[in-house]
Structures are given as structure tokens and as C-alpha cells.
């Protein structure tokens, strides 16, 4: 199994006629994903790589005769909130938001509406989700042949605040013989739809997943939240697997340690979310918290496979 996506998962692309969206649609179709429709207001009747385009999500649902499982939203920042509201209100349960530079007030509104409708948001400012050889939802991993090079099926769940680093880490795991159950680019903004701690229960309920790797950065409380989650659930059993299955081991990588330097104060690098606003936000503070919670934090990407194997070995 996997989390979020499966073999028969269907999704649409909102903003499908945009340049990046056209590429993304091609990539997902090539990978074997079921892209069943697209929306761009005013472009009803067109096709993008054989995928029919509609003006509204409602029209897609009417035409299909069912509500698709997910939507990839890639529309300009000023229109994203409306597009996401439309998807959620029409019953879509998984929304991947690719768009970046969305003010956090809009993101918070979308997340609250999703919560009220039992829907989940991944992103914004993310590349999406991939279940190797099963389904790719979003630009994650790039063209199908490139995605196949980096991602292979296996037992490691990957979550990353950086889209590109999701692929780099998965490729490193693949080279070491460790495949991935599901890799999620969770997004680089200060407020995102699903944090590590919010996704952990999904991985814990997945029989295929045996370990987790996360890519982390300065800024925000997401890592502190994960540390708290780990501490709160200490000793609890996973809901799946052999009786008494141990908790999923987690290995973390922290980038942006240089941002702790005095002269970097007040600056943000890489992603909007890296802006340090509180005392828990720095790399040093996050590393300390994660380690205290029993999550090893490695300094090099190429150390990740051994750290994972150590953890998996220790579990047996």
C-alpha cells in the first residue's frame, strides 16, 4: 500500500492550460496517473494531451458521473483560494497546491475549509506526491523517465519542505537499495496544508511503510510539532502490522544551518517559510528538539541511508 494515492486514484488539474500545467499533465499521464479532467475558465471544450478541459469543477463532475479523488491546483496566486474552495465544495478530498507566493491568510482559509469538509491540502509551494510505479500527482520527479530514475517502490516514507530535495533524498535512498512507499513534497511556506506531524498517522497506518525520512529547514514550528508528536506517542503501537508493531523510526536532515549566523538574522533563504520569527525557529533549536525526541538529524544527504538502516536494524 501507500498513503494518499493508489493505483485507481483519479485527479484533475485546475489551471490545466497553463504552460507548466500542460507539462505536468503530460508527465503524470506518462507515469500512468489517471488525470481525468482539467479546468480553465473559458476554455471548455479543449483538450490537453487528451484530457478534456472544462470551465468549472462542477462540469467535470457532471461529465464524469463521479467526483474525482484529487485536484492539482496550479493557478496564479490571486486566484488560488477560489480554485481550492471550488474543488473542496464540489467534494474533492485531496488538493495539491503547486502555486507559490500565496499570502498565508488565504492558505489558512483554505485549510480551515478543508478541515470542515474532511478534505486534505498538500502545499502550497510544493511539487506534489508520488507513489513509485503507481501514481504521480504533480510535478514531483519531473518527466516520467526522470521520476523512474529517482523513485523506486519500497518501505520508506519521505516528507520534505523542499520539492527538489524530495527527489534528491529519494534518489539517494534508491541508490542504497531503499525504495519509497510514498514521497510527499509538503511545501515551503510558513503555513501549509499538511505538516509532518499531521501526515505521520497516515504513514503509521500504512503496512508498507517501515521508516520515515524528513527534510527540514529553519523557520516555523513544524519540527517542534513533530518532536512533540513523537514524545506524546512514545510507547504507543502502530495501528497496523504484526501485533505490537513498533513506532515508525524517523531520520531527519536539516538544511540551512548557516542561517543561524548572526549576520543572517532577519533574512529568509530558499523558501518563504524559512523566515525565523520565534526562538524555536532556528536550525540549532530544531536539531536539539528532534534529537531529544529520538530523531537523529544527519548533516549530509548521503548519510541518510545508513541512518535509516541503523534505525530499521535497531527495530528488529
Amino acid at each position: 500500500m501507500s498513503v494518499l494515492l493508489s493505483q485507481d486514484f483519479t485527479f484533475i488539474v485546475q489551471g490545466i492550460t497553463g504552460r507548466e500545467a500542460v507539462n505536468l499533465t503530460r508527465e503524470c499521464l506518462d507515469y500512468g496517473s489517471k488525470v481525468v479532467g482539467g479546468v480553465t475558465p473559458g476554455r471548455k471544450g479543449r483538450e490537453v494531451h487528451g484530457v478534456p478541459v472544462f470551465d468549472t469543477v462542477e462540469q467535470v463532475v457532471d461529465s464524469l458521473g463521479y467526483v474525482p479523488d484529487g485536484s492539482v491546483v496550479t493557478v496564479p496566486p490571486a486566484f488560488t483560494k477560489d480554485a481550492v474552495f471550488e474543488a473542496i465544495v464540489r467534494g474533492i478530498k485531496l488538493v495539491v497546491i503547486v502555486t507559490e507566493r500565496i499570502p498565508r491568510r488565504d492558505v489558512a482559509e483554505m485549510v480551515e475549509l478543508a478541515d470542515r469538509n474532511d478534505a486534505r491540502i498538500i502545499g502550497p509551494n510544493c511539487l506534489g506526491v508520488i507513489v513509485p510505479e503507481v501514481c504521480k500527482m504533480g510535478g514531483i520527479g519531473g518527466p516520467a523517465k526522470d521520476a523512474a530514475k529517482a523513485y523506486t517502490p519500497g518501505s520508506i516514507g519521505v516528507m520534505s519542505r523542499s520539492g527538489g530535495m524530495t527527489t534528491e533524498i529519494s534518489s539517494t535512498l534508491t541508490a542504497a537499495g531503499l525504495g519509497q512507499s510514498t514521497a510527499i513534497s509538503i511545501g515551503g511556506d510558513a503555513i501549509i496544508g499538511s505538516t509532518y506531524a499531521e501526515l505521520m498517522p497516515l504513514f503509521e497506518a500504512d503496512e508498507q511503510t517501515e521508516g520515515i525520512v524528513i527534510y527540514t529547514e529553519p523557520g516555523g514550528r513544524m519540527e517542534a510539532q513533530l518532536s512533540e508528536w513523537v514524545a506524546e506517542n512514545e510507547g504507543a503501537k502502530r495501528p497496523v502490522g504484526a501485533e505490537g508493531a513498533a513506532r515508525l523510526p524517523i531520520v531527519a536532515f536539516m538544511a540551512g544551518r548557516f542561517m543561524d549566523d548572526e549576520e543572517m538574522k532577519g533574512m529568509s533563504f530558499g523558501h518563504a517559510g524559512t523566515i525565523v520569527e520565534g526562538k524555536e525557529d532556528t536550525a540549532t533549536e530544531k536539531i536539539a528538539r528532534l534529537q531529544e525526541a529520538g530523531v537523529p538529524v544527519v548533516e549530509r544527504i548521503d548519510e541518510i541511508p545508513d541512518a535509516v538502516k541503523d534505525k530499521l536494524g535497531a527495530k528488529v
Binding site: 490571486a78 499570502p103 480551515e112 475549509l113 527538489g164 529547514e217 538574522k265 533574512m267 544527504i301
Partner: protein, 404 residues
């Protein structure tokens, strides 16, 4: 982006929150006039985007307009933590009965705005929260509804405040919450919020920060305050390198390049990407003894001209002899285009690419084509079998071979 105190003052005024009669002045003469209009004792405050004004002598009291002018003249010349003031604020010395704190911040974990109120104002709210937690009221707000007055009332009620203080402070906190939402603030604070001897509440000092991503849609407010789009409010002035990279980026819509060199003073030029990759690679260079001359981000498949322009700017920096061209695995940006760009940059500056490019590690889209181009110029290509850490190590060792 952070606002000056006088701007924050105007913003709270717009939101219907009472303030004292004040003047923003850029000369001693203006300060004298403002003091005359206000009448009585005044306080002169330096307008700088940094803390610790009081300690640095940036806040002074004056009993007469002449004294106000004298203090203003001194404060206008006073640098605080490396910042020159934009002007001074002249404010009446208020007859304060009690100071309160009112604030609205983002709670990133709950993904909701959080209202805060304390009857111990005038000091840092974090300090109050640590030492006197029962004097801090808190309450989350829904993102989907306008902040209601009753939530503000509840939050104030948590601190034990009642009577007319409660009824008068309630609309102020509620308006602050609406202001935070309407103007896309990441932080909206009034500290102190003062109850005057006559019972009125006024905002004596306000601190506002707006989310950069919201600047385009907040243009009407920013125009009103006279803030130009070019006024980035970075904590420092952009360098020539930073300005040049920005100009190259805006000249062409394909792809995105960014460059920073504030706080970097090394000899190894970095031409790196993308977001997370750049953070990882900068750490890897520094952890292995390398001294980056700058930081960059390449993303979204830039044109050859853009990649070339970025590499040239890095190479033009003082003391930079070699560049390290490195990225995490790319799926959108094309390896061959970046390769063409950086080689072109070397050639146009009369440098040998094989000597100048310390390492080229970009695996991913169009990597075979990229490798061919690099080979032609004698530049070794590193694919994904060379880790980001190893690539950084190679760059550092090559730069250390350069005789001093």
C-alpha cells in the same frame, strides 16, 4: 515587511483605533512646530526599524518646543544599530493611568490568528507570558469569519479586566484583529495600549509587519503610506551584486534566479539551486572549510542568458577565482542550459571554463546533453552518483589549491 512606528500609527488610526495627536517630522523645525501644535510636554522618538531605541538615546522628553527641536536635531543624527532614522515622531507625554498590551499574531501550528491581551503593558509580552501567565489572555480566531467582538471580550476577560476598561478595550482588540486580517499582517501589536486618566484608551506605540507575498494586493494601503514597491524593507541595503542579479532576473521571464551576498565574504563563488538545494549546498561548503562568496538560487528553467548573467555576476565579485555550479537533482531546470550559461560566462570574461568551474554537479533533466557540452570545454561533469556533500568537498579542495 516591517513598518515604522509612525506608519503603524497611521494604520491603527485607519482601523478606527484611537491614537494621541502626533507628528512625523524629518527636521528639527518641523519637530518644533509639531510640539507647539500638541502643546505641553512631548516625547521625541527616533523612527528606525530596529529595537533598543530607548537604550541608545533615541527617545527623549521635552517640556518646550525649543527643547523638542534640540532633541529632534540630535536624534535625527543618531545611528541606532547601524540604522539611520527616517525621521522622528513627536508625541504628547500622555497622562497614563494604566498600560495594557493588545496583539494579534499567527499561530502556525493551529493555522489560525491568535489574539493576545495583557493588563501588564509596556514590557515585552513574552516576558509577561513567562513570568505572569495569568496576566495574558489568549484566543484563536476562525479564518473564515470576521473576528467577532465577543472573542476579544473573552480574551480580555481572561486577564480579570472588567468594568469600563473591558468594554472600552474590547472594540480595540477586535479592530486590531480585523486590521491584521484585512491588511495581511503577520504581526499587529499595540504596546502600550494606554488607559488615560480620563478613562479613554489610546494606542501609544504600535508594531506592524505585513507579509511580503501580500504586498501586491495591499497596494492601496502602501500607496497611502507613500511606500514605493522598490522599498523592500530588508534589514540591510542591497549590494551591487544583489541589485545586478535582480535586474538580470527581471529582464527575462523564463526561470528565476536570486542572489545574495550580505554576510558572505569568501572566495568561492556559488552558482547553486534551487531552494532546498541551495541551503544544503551552502551548509556543505561551509562545513568542509569552504568560504562562500555569495548565495544563489536557480529555479524554474532559466534561459542561457540568465544563467550566464548570474555566473558572470558571481565571477565579477572581488576575490572570486572559481565558481561551484551545483544543484540537487533537477526535473524542470535543464542541465544543458545551465551548462551553456556558465561556460558562456567564463568565455565572455576571458576565463578558461575548465579552470574556472571548480565543480559542475547538476543531475537530472537533459543531463546527457549537459555532459557533452561540458566535456567539450574540459569541465568534468558530476552526476547523481557524486553526492551534494562530495561535490562541495571537491569545490573546496580545488579552491584551496589556488595559491594565495
Amino acid at each position: 515587511m516591517r513598518f515604522y512606528e509612525y506608519e503603524s500609527r497611521r494604520i491603527v488610526e485607519r482601523a478606527g483605533i484611537p491614537v494621541t495627536k502626533y507628528g512625523f517630522c524629518t527636521t528639527a523645525d518641523e519637530a518644533r512646530k509639531a510640539a507647539e501644535e500638541i502643546g505641553g510636554s512631548v516625547v521625541i522618538k527616533s523612527q528606525v526599524l530596529t529595537g533598543g531605541r530607548m537604550k541608545a538615546g533615541g527617545v527623549k522628553f521635552a517640556d518646550t518646543p525649543d527643547e523638542a527641536a534640540e532633541h529632534a536635531a540630535a536624534i535625527l543624527e543618531l545611528e541606532i544599530n547601524g540604522h539611520m532614522p527616517k525621521g522622528v515622531l513627536v508625541d504628547p507625554k500622555a497622562e497614563v493611568a494604566q498600560e495594557y498590551y493588545a496583539g494579534v499574531v499567527w499561530d502556525g501550528t493551529r493555522k489560525r490568528p491568535l489574539m493576545l491581551f495583557s493588563d501588564m503593558g509596556g514590557i515585552d509580552i513574552e516576558e509577561v507570558a513567562d513570568r505572569h501567565p495569568d496576566h495574558v489572555g489568549r484566543g484563536h480566531l476562525s479564518n473564515l469569519f470576521d473576528p467577532p467582538d465577543f472573542r476579544a471580550k473573552e480574551v480580555i476577560g481572561h486577564t480579570g479586566v472588567t468594568g469600563s476598561a473591558l468594554t472600552r478595550a474590547t472594540p480595540i482588540l477586535a479592530r486590531l484583529a480585523r486590521l491584521m486580517r484585512d491588511y495581511d499582517m503577520t504581526l499587529a501589536e499595540i504596546n502600550p495600549l494606554a488607559r488615560l486618566e480620563d478613562g479613554r484608551f489610546v494606542a501609544l506605540d504600535a508594531h506592524m509587519e505585513m507579509e511580503n507575498e501580500a504586498r501586491p494586493r495591499q497596494k492601496p494601503l502602501l500607496d497611502d503610506l507613500g511606500i514605493e514597491p522598490t522599498d523592500t524593507r530588508e534589514p540591510y541595503e542591497p549590494s551591487e551584486f544583489e541589485r545586478n542579479v535582480k535586474a538580470i532576473d527581471s529582464a527575462d521571464h523564463r526561470g528565476v534566479i536570486q542572489g545574495k551576498d550580505h554576510g558572505f565574504a569568501g572566495n568561492l563563488g556559488l552558482v547553486i539551486g534551487a531552494g532546498g538545494g541551495s541551503l544544503t549546498l551552502t551548509d556543505a561548503v561551509r562545513s568542509q572549510g569552504g568560504k562562500p562568496a555569495n548565495y544563489t538560487e536557480i529555479g524554474g528553467n532559466p534561459s542561457v542568458a540568465k544563467a550566464c548573467g548570474l555566473a558572470k555576476e558571481v565571477l565579477k565579485k572581488d576575490g572570486v577565482e572559481k565558481i561551484a555550479v551545483m544543484m540537487s537533482i533537477v526535473s524542470n531546470t535543464r542541465v544543458d542550459i545551465v551548462a551553456r550559461g556558465v561556460i558562456k560566462a567564463c568565455l565572455e570574461l576571458g576565463k578558461d571554463p575548465a579552470e574556472t568551474i571548480a565543480v559542475f554537479r547538476i543531475p537530472g533533466a537533459w543531463e546527457e546533453e549537459g555532459e557533452k557540452i561540458l566535456k567539450r570545454y574540459g569541465v568534468e561533469y558530476c552526476d547523481r552518483s557524486v553526492s551534494m556533500w562530495e561535490a562541495a568537498a571537491r569545490a573546496v579542495s580545488k579552491i584551496q589549491e589556488v595559491p594565495a
